[in-house]
């Protein structure tokens, strides 16, 4: 049987505020356990929450960036459940009157098409603390530093139909919240966490199947694997005539397996009610406009500008514009030379490969955009060959010198582009290889001739000590051999 896959996402985004959503405790990462947990965060009797204005500003910025309606009057509710990392016994969240209403995000797919994913809403809420289950003689350790960290939970419509689309959306959202500066985007520290709702329905059917929720995926790769895993699991059950139970599942990426976390029946009875400790928050036009003024260029706008300003194709423009830091690096590199396409190739090629290999971010790279830009300029003006350029890149990366010109000079990588000198070398090399010259000239197939040119290149590069401009050598060879 053929199945349609239906995917919706819930994304928790930690907001990059200095303090918590309801208290003046620091949210800085990495502090000693419980040193950033105040009386409010610990739910001491008699404390009252006071909301953080910046959390609202960030949420509104997000709403504007996804073309959403802003909730002019947002209300906090209590979601009741017991867990030791939630000292109050309830999470303060927003149920019926969220800060961000319906909006949308357009995603680009690998086949070049684009797709609109609708945002159902996004609401403000508080994060819980952390439970540590190891090493405490059968006890669980609780660190409440994270308790009360502001989150927005973004809920999409079930608009995605494959793991590819879900991951494309997740990456786009990551790019968006990092670009506008409301989240540090550090997924390894849990700054973005994805819950994936998945159901299957017979191909073409209008009726949605029962869904499961796979929680707390914190990497794009795990997300892709978890979706593939869950789709297969559901398909097996349905094709054996079974039925899907609505439940929350946990995915273990290291083992590629999942297990049921809890049946929704009991756990889902959260008994929401409006929080009596908090009054409705009213957002006026002035607040919205001041948030709009803080929005930097959005990735979509940047992509359009890169295509227009630098003549990049859609694919390169997208890769360079998604991450604001990569985009800034690229623009710095382009500033040094005129060849934007070449700069794009180097940023997306050699430079990105090196970052990946060393697991570094752009900010941690040992070279700057303008250093790479200078190298690109030397490739563009034929000072250095592309193989020589790789040596220069290597030396820049290792910090042997701080600019490309110095390295080209020191390592003798300057290309000989003096046609007179190159012609003389070609004449000498050809004179020493009469048989190959004759073979070439007797060959009727131009494709084979082209291949045979390679046989002359080796000796030529040797004769020029690797410094001859290969492109010019090629031109001269073809001319001389043809004549």
């Amino acid at each position: 049987m053929q199945w349609d896959i239906v995917i919706g996402l819930e994304i928790h985004v930690q907001l990059a505020t200095k303090t918590k959503i309801f208290s003046g405790s620091s949210t800085a990462f990495g502090a000693e356990p419980n040193t950033q947990a105040s009386a409010v965060d610990l739910a001491m009797p008699g404390t009252l929450p006071v909301p953080n204005e910046q959390a609202f500003r960030y949420a509104v910025m997000f709403g504007l960036a996804v073309n959403a309606e802003i909730g002019r009057r947002s209300v906090f509710d209590r979601k009741n459940y017991f867990y030791p990392d939630l000292p109050k016994g309830y999470q303060t969240t927003q149920l019926d009157h969220p800060i961000v209403g319906p909006g949308f995000v357009d995603i680009d797919l690998d086949d070049g098409s684009s797709k609109r994913v609708r945002i159902h809403h996004a609401h403000l809420e508080e994060d819980a603390g952390k439970s540590l289950h190891e090493d405490f003689d059968g006890m669980t350790g609780i660190d409440l530093n994270r308790a009360g960290t502001p989150l927005i939970e973004i809920v999409t419509e079930p608009d995605m139909t494959s793991a590819e689309e879900a991951v494309a959306f997740a990456k786009k959202l990551h790019s968006l919240v990092s670009s506008i500066g409301i989240c540090d985007g550090d997924m390894s520290q849990g700054s973005l966490r994805f819950d994936v709702n998945i159901s299957l329905k017979p191909k073409g059917s209008d009726e949605l199947g029962t869904r499961t929720e796979t929680k707390n995926l914190n990497s794009f790769r795990f997300m892709e694997q978890a979706i593939a895993h869950e789709v297969e699991r559901q398909m097996d059950i349905l094709e054996d005539g079974g039925r899907i139970i609505q439940e929350t599942r946990l995915y273990n990426g290291d083992r590629d397996e999942s297990r049921s976390m809890r049946s929704k029946e009991e756990a889902n009875d959260y008994r929401y009610f409006p929080c009596p400790d908090l009054l409705p928050v009213v957002i006026d036009d002035a607040f919205i406009e001041s948030a709009r003024d803080l929005l930097p260029e959005l990735p979509d706008e940047r992509k359009a500008r890169f295509k227009e300003q630098y003549g990049l194709n859609d694919y390169d423009a997208r890769l360079l514009s998604d991450d604001a830091r990569i985009a800034a690096f690229f623009e710095e590199a382009v500033g040094q030379g005129k060849d934007a396409k070449l700069a794009a190739n180097w940023v997306l090629g050699e430079f990105s490969a090196r970052l990946n290999a060393e697991d570094k971010t752009v900010l941690e790279a040992p070279i700057t955009g303008s250093q790479l830009g200078q190298l690109v300029a030397r490739i563009a003006d034929n000072t250095v060959s592309s193989s020589g350029a790789k040596k220069v890149f290597e030396a820049l990366w290792n910090g042997d010198a701080d600019n490309a010109d110095a390295i080209i000079e020191a390592q003798g990588l300057k290309q000989v582009s003096d046609t007179g000198a190159l012609e003389q070398m070609v004449d000498e090399v050809l004179a020493g290889m009469p048989d190959q010259v004759a073979q070439y000239q007797e060959e009727a197939d131009p494709k084979k001739q082209k291949k045979m040119l390679g046989g002359f290149m080796g000796p030529l590069m040797k004769a020029s000590k690797g410094q001859g401009n290969p492109k010019l050598f090629n031109e001269i060879l073809v001319r001389k051999l043809g004549g």
Partner: protein
């Protein structure tokens, strides 16, 4: 409106309240009375009344994003039953 024994037992579980068997009939009666009162309220015509999120007719004030709290861990943990390495210890939680 009445409330069943099962409802009471379920709410007790959700609220982590231990009930003795003999308490349940009295609770059935008390909670039933409260629900009757709610029924009475529900009968009022509210077609032209805006839903109320809070009994005070006021708007929430917001706070500037400045750190105002200092580390008081020692004071807080002085009243905790068990701590270790700065963590609060609780009976093991297994999901």
């Amino acid at each position: 409106m009445t409330i069943s024994r099962e409802d009471i037992e379920k709410v007790a579980v959700l609220a982590r309240i231990r009930l003795d068997e003999e308490q349940i009939p009295a609770l059935e009666n008390d909670l039933g009375n409260i629900l009757s009162l709610v029924d009475q309220l529900s009968a009022a015509d509210t077609d032209n009344v805006e839903p109320l999120a809070h009994p005070l007719d006021a708007v929430q004030r917001l706070r500037a994003d400045k750190v105002t709290e200092t580390n008081q861990r020692e004071a807080f943990q002085a009243i905790a039953p068990a701590t270790e390495s700065g963590l609060y210890l609780v009976p093991r939680v297994i999901e």
